[in-house]
Symmetry: C2
Subunit: 327 residues, 2 copies
């Protein structure tokens, strides 16, 4: 037994975000056995963040009474564009990273093989492998959080396209003259249905004199507003918040219909923090609106589901990637 357990058979998944780092330790059959969390502190610079990732991994491994020698591989989902072959993060806006050799640095510090992918692609991989028993050949994952991103599984494999940017669904224009998006364009899906978009709309309306229970809960500046607060407000009968969330769900449904028309998936899974908090309020509207807008025949038998993985999608996908790559 002692001999078996000292073998490198466990996997670590890491979700590297702009504000926090999550690490999870998984068995070879992808059961999670421990985790840790750390703030990213991107402002301290690249090497500090890499050192924090290493520390977060070590903490999670230690939490499970394991040592790094028992880890077969580490899979990391990083925000932005990633070069998996060379293990580099090419560009990550919210980390202020440009062409960072993340794999090499981490492998030096941890002495475990490291594998990289784009965060939303990795989340999609996690959902596909762990959540969908039927393992659909063609699947789209979309994640509603601070922004909106996605990933594609086509013909049973992760599909990243020519510049490894496939699945950059959040900047799909849904309304040519719509609200300004952070990317510089107007009317992107992200400008209608990301957490930031919802919060911006709510904060603006409150400034303009809109009444909402949110200000009773959090004060007029709504500084600490979180996705869960929207759910609470709706439960308390706040029609204004309900309407804002419903509109976001409608736009999301239209975006999902566009994706179904273009790609023809068997399953669309919707995850991310916003969806996690507001599944009951959003999913049925999304599904109805997607079916209404899908081209006749293209959504036949297509499942539109909410992910149950929540915050674990990224670390799970990281572990799936590590398992795939070390097989």
């Amino acid at each position: 037994m002692a001999e078996a357990s000292s073998k490198a058979e466990h996997l670590v998944g890491v979700d590297l975000g702009g504000t926090k780092i999550l690490a999870g330790v998984f068995t070879s059959s992808l059961k999670i056995i421990g985790r840790s969390k750390m703030s990213t502190k991107a402002e301290r610079g690249t090497s500090s963040v890499i050192e924090r990732i290493a520390r977060c991994v070590q903490d999670a491994v230690d939490e499970c009474d394991l040592s790094l020698k028992q880890i077969k591989g580490i899979g990391i989902g990083a925000p932005g564009s990633v070069d998996p072959e060379n293990g580099r993060v090419m560009f990550a806006g919210n980390l202020d990273w440009k062409d960072v050799g993340l794999r090499k640095e981490l492998e030096k510090q941890l002495e475990v093989p490291v594998f990289l992918g784009n965060d939303c692609n990795i989340c999609t991989l996690g959902v596909h492998e762990v959540e969908l028993e039927a393992k659909p050949k063609n699947m789209i994952g979309v994640f509603l959080g601070t922004g909106i991103g996605g990933g594609l599984i086509l013909d049973g494999k992760m599909f990243t396209g020519h510049n490894r940017t496939a699945g950059e669904v959040g900047h799909m224009v849904l309304e040519v003259n719509g609200p300004k998006c952070t990317c510089g364009n107007r009317g992107c899906w992200e400008a209608f249905a990301s957490r930031s978009a919802l919060f911006r709309q709510i904060q603006q309306a409150v400034k303009d004199g809109q009444k909402t229970v949110l200000t009773e809960m959090l004060g007029n500046d709504l500084k600490d507003l979180r996705s869960g607060d929207l759910r609470k407000a709706i439960k308390q009968g706040d029609k204004f918040v309900e309407h804002i969330v419903e509109e976001a769900a409608k736009y999301t449904g239209i975006a999902v219909a566009n994706l179904i028309n273009i790609i023809g998936p068997e399953v669309v899974v919707i995850g991310g923090g916003l969806m996690d908090a507001l599944e009951n309020e959003m999913l049925s509207v999304i599904v109805e609106c997607a079916r209404e807008h899908a081209f006749p025949g293209s959504d036949k038998g297509v499942k539109i589901l909410a992910s149950k993985l929540g915050d674990d999608a990224g670390i799970t996908g990281g572990a799936v990637l590590a398992r795939k790559e070390t097989k």
Copy 2:
């Protein structure tokens, strides 16, 4: 020589449309050596149309001094949804067809193997094989005609997705509260940039008193309006028509950016009758607008081209399909 030429080595491609049938005879190296054209006369019913397809193929073959015995295979692009495995057209709105066993019927009449695909998928196949020397692994074909359709080549192969409807790009919503589309939704790409959309806008404006050289050319009802007339009007300095065409090109550019963001192709090729007639007026606007709207990094090195195949895209793709399937 006589012996060699009697071998079944030629290919026939057929483009079955709502108003006309085109057939082309190709050598095994995909050089076109003859063609024929016939009106579809869909109103006469299914078996009449199938009989006309057979006649059109025979005419083209005869035109080349060949016999059907020298044809290795016939590839057909049909409008609507197609079941290639069973050789059936499942649904074709503008032919008023539902579940028609086209392959079986044609094979009975012509005694040559017949292969089917969706028309825009087949056009994409033709463009990929004959027009793009680099044979990009990931490519999108879009076709601006009466409607707007598309096809995907992913990982070097035609990709049709779960319901064989992938590439149904024309009904991508670009403006949630935009103009009504024939599909019942609002603001689809097709409602902004198809030939029908342009003609409808022009005819409505003329009714509302808009002056244009088109009415001088064709009379006030604009009954015989064709894509080429728009080009002529623009050449004569008609700012109204120029503006209408430019707007269609802008929406097309945004749609192309959406496709690049979502799929990450290496090449986007734009074809179809409208593009064929108005390439000089539209392409540069499309490219500029697509680059402006593509997510940073996702359009790097991505080519956006106009197809030179014009009306031959469908018959060429049909021949490519027949060659692939009889190899």
